[in-house]
Symmetry: C2
Subunit: 382 residues, 2 copies
């Protein structure tokens, strides 16, 4: 249900966003954009020339063509703007400056146990951002804003972090207001699974149009990308895969539910159940043919496939991408997962649903903290 009207002015900004959606994936010619998007050539010319004039895009080399005049590729000007990012993790905090192509221009990572004062933490991070911008000689006006990522429950609409077991001391910290007032820049708070999924969606590593992105670390979070946009639900809390129950009367979880996936396949859970030293060790042993190690992988695949199968049955994706822990030598586990998911999910009877591991590089993942800010720029809802 669309509640905003369209007028002559919105046309242009929507079409501009459409053009950016091509360019940010790869350099593209005017002709190709016109054909792909359905816009007239003249409209594409008009908009792109304006963007060139502004310095937002440039003409790069020309692309070979079978016959006729070569096309001139247009490309994003990566450093037209930058974005700052603050990534909160359980044991460290990561601060970075990122360009429009998600390349990291500056970063720092600090260990921290000082969760007592989230405001001081934000102060420090903001000071660091200012320092980076100065070093890079980038005036504040060229910084689009600050993206903040956190693993815990948060309200992305209001920009407030809620209390969680992991971040005990973050009781309704209004990250957005605080940082926005301090910096005078737009601030966007988001869940790290959502941000990573956005980044993955853009990376073209997998061709999925509708995928579930699962982040396995201490907890298990997820996000769903539906035709290129994040499925948010009512308040943006969608995707709590880790607290999905696979045993209605199973192991009690701190969340109040019983049988939560996290209680079965998180590293902590595996350590408790099997006494393993590390997941990597188990995988290495499994490849060496160790029976017990293979049994553990089988167990993980069994439990995980149940939760994944459920999510697939509900979301009907064309792919599932798993990020984090299980990406270590993933072939063996993923073969098992695929097989078991195929058995469990009725959706896979109608079309294949590929279970893949994320090939995102560490720096891409780090840069993802800015992806909401950068997306906002490219949408240019002027």
């Amino acid at each position: 249900m669309k509640t905003y009207p369209h007028n002559v002015k919105t046309i242009k900004s929507e079409n501009r966003a459409l053009i950016f959606n091509y360019l940010r994936r790869k350099p593209t010619s005017r002709a190709e954009i016109s054909k792909g998007s359905g816009m007239s050539k003249s409209a594409v010319t008009m908009i792109t020339n304006e963007l060139i004039h502004d310095g937002q895009i440039v003409e790069t080399n020309s692309a070979p063509s079978a016959r006729g005049r070569k096309s001139i590729l247009l490309d994003i000007v990566a450093d037209y703007r930058v974005a700052a990012g603050i990534s909160l993790h359980r044991k460290h905090i990561y601060v970075c400056i990122v360009d429009l192509k998600s390349r990291i221009l500056a970063y720092a990572s600090h260990k921290t146990s000082d969760w007592n004062n989230p405001y001081r933490l934000m102060d420090d991070a903001y000071r660091e951002i200012c320092g980076f911008l100065e070093e890079l000689n980038i005036p504040k006006e060229r910084c689009l804003g600050i993206g903040v990522s956190a693993p815990g429950p948060l309200d992305y609409v209001s920009g407030v972090m809620m209390s969680s077991p992991e971040f005990e001391l973050f009781h309704n910290v209004d990250v957005r207001s605080y940082l926005q007032n301090k910096s005078g820049m737009p601030v966007m708070l988001d869940n790290n699974a959502v941000l990573l999924a956005m980044q993955q969606s853009l990376s073209n590593q997998y061709p999925y149009k509708n995928f579930i992105f699962v982040v396995v670390s201490n907890g298990i979070g997820s996000a769903v990308i539906n035709n290129g946009t994040v499925y948010r639900g009512f308040r943006g809390f969608a995707g709590e895969l880790g607290h999905t129950s696979i045993h209605a009367n199973g192991i009690p979880c701190s969340c109040g539910n019983a049988g939560c996936l996290e209680k079965y396949i998180s590293i902590q859970a595996l350590q408790e159940k099997f006494g393993i030293p590390s997941y990597e060790k188990v995988v290495d042993d499994a490849y060496m043919g160790d029976h017990e190690a293979n049994r553990i992988l089988e167990y993980i695949a069994d439990e995980f496939s149940c939760a994944l199968g459920n999510a697939i049955n509900l979301f009907d994706p064309d792919g599932v991408i798993i990020y984090g822990q299980f990406s270590y030598r993933p072939e063996k586990l993923f073969a098992l997962l695929q097989e078991k998911v195929n058995r469990r999910s009725v959706i896979t009877r109608t079309h294949p649903v590929e279970i893949s591991y994320s090939r995102m590089q560490p720096d891409e993942a780090s840069a993802s903290v800015c992806s909401a800010i950068i997306n906002r720029y490219f949408e240019q809802k002027l």
Copy 2:
């Protein structure tokens, strides 16, 4: 990721759709539409006058106002167009003609066991539709198309029914092509849960913006409405709640999975487990204070709340609406469900998620078979 461009012409059709979205809910004045939608008064006047001229809407009585000129309410002309519907159930087939306000103008229901020849079935249904149109003196041109609903797995994009345990003999029946060729009208095939959810969404019975609609009959299906539109997933198979597993190693299901919700709370399952004569009897007994009957309700709520909690954790809705079987004297069961879901779902820690039973009337539900066709008309993507 929008892939169609906007031009001067699309503006108008989108704004017209915006106006219809107000009018189909309730009669509304031009002024109110203008304020609510953000469109200028002149644009609203322009479009509505055109629609009046076409006979698509009319001015009705004027609405009282505190001060100043009374506003003139505009209303849909319900019989400007009609839609035909064919609803396939396991043991009967339902055929109807519906107006733009989802009022049933003609209908018939037939018992049938003749699933041997789905084409003859469609032939019969289409003949009946033609008969109805003749009786009602409605020329074929005024019929928007034929909506077809079925409970089994189907591809709404291509309009093909797939084989399922319930409809064994429907092996890839191309309902759309067959009926479209026969009738020369647009044909839309859809899942009955989706159609009911669309109808519910329009009915304004509940204020939810993002709800999960669950249909409990022989199987358990569901559909998710996200900001007024159906969440479809990759190929429209989303919402297989009934084959969501709540016991990873539970009762084997014909779908290949184990522990599917259907295997626990479907009437058949309850009869097998508890030997009950009918669900209604159990409920009546429970209200009379019967201990065993209350135990059964508790059991249902336990199992159901697990699947619902999972779906809520994944979709983050503001409400869940349950339709069908459990709507019989629902207060007792729904109180239990609400309590258990609140315990199981982490989402309910952040905002309330109401578990309600659908108050849709039987005729509304029957008319829902046409809701995709009618929605298509009101969207008027000209």
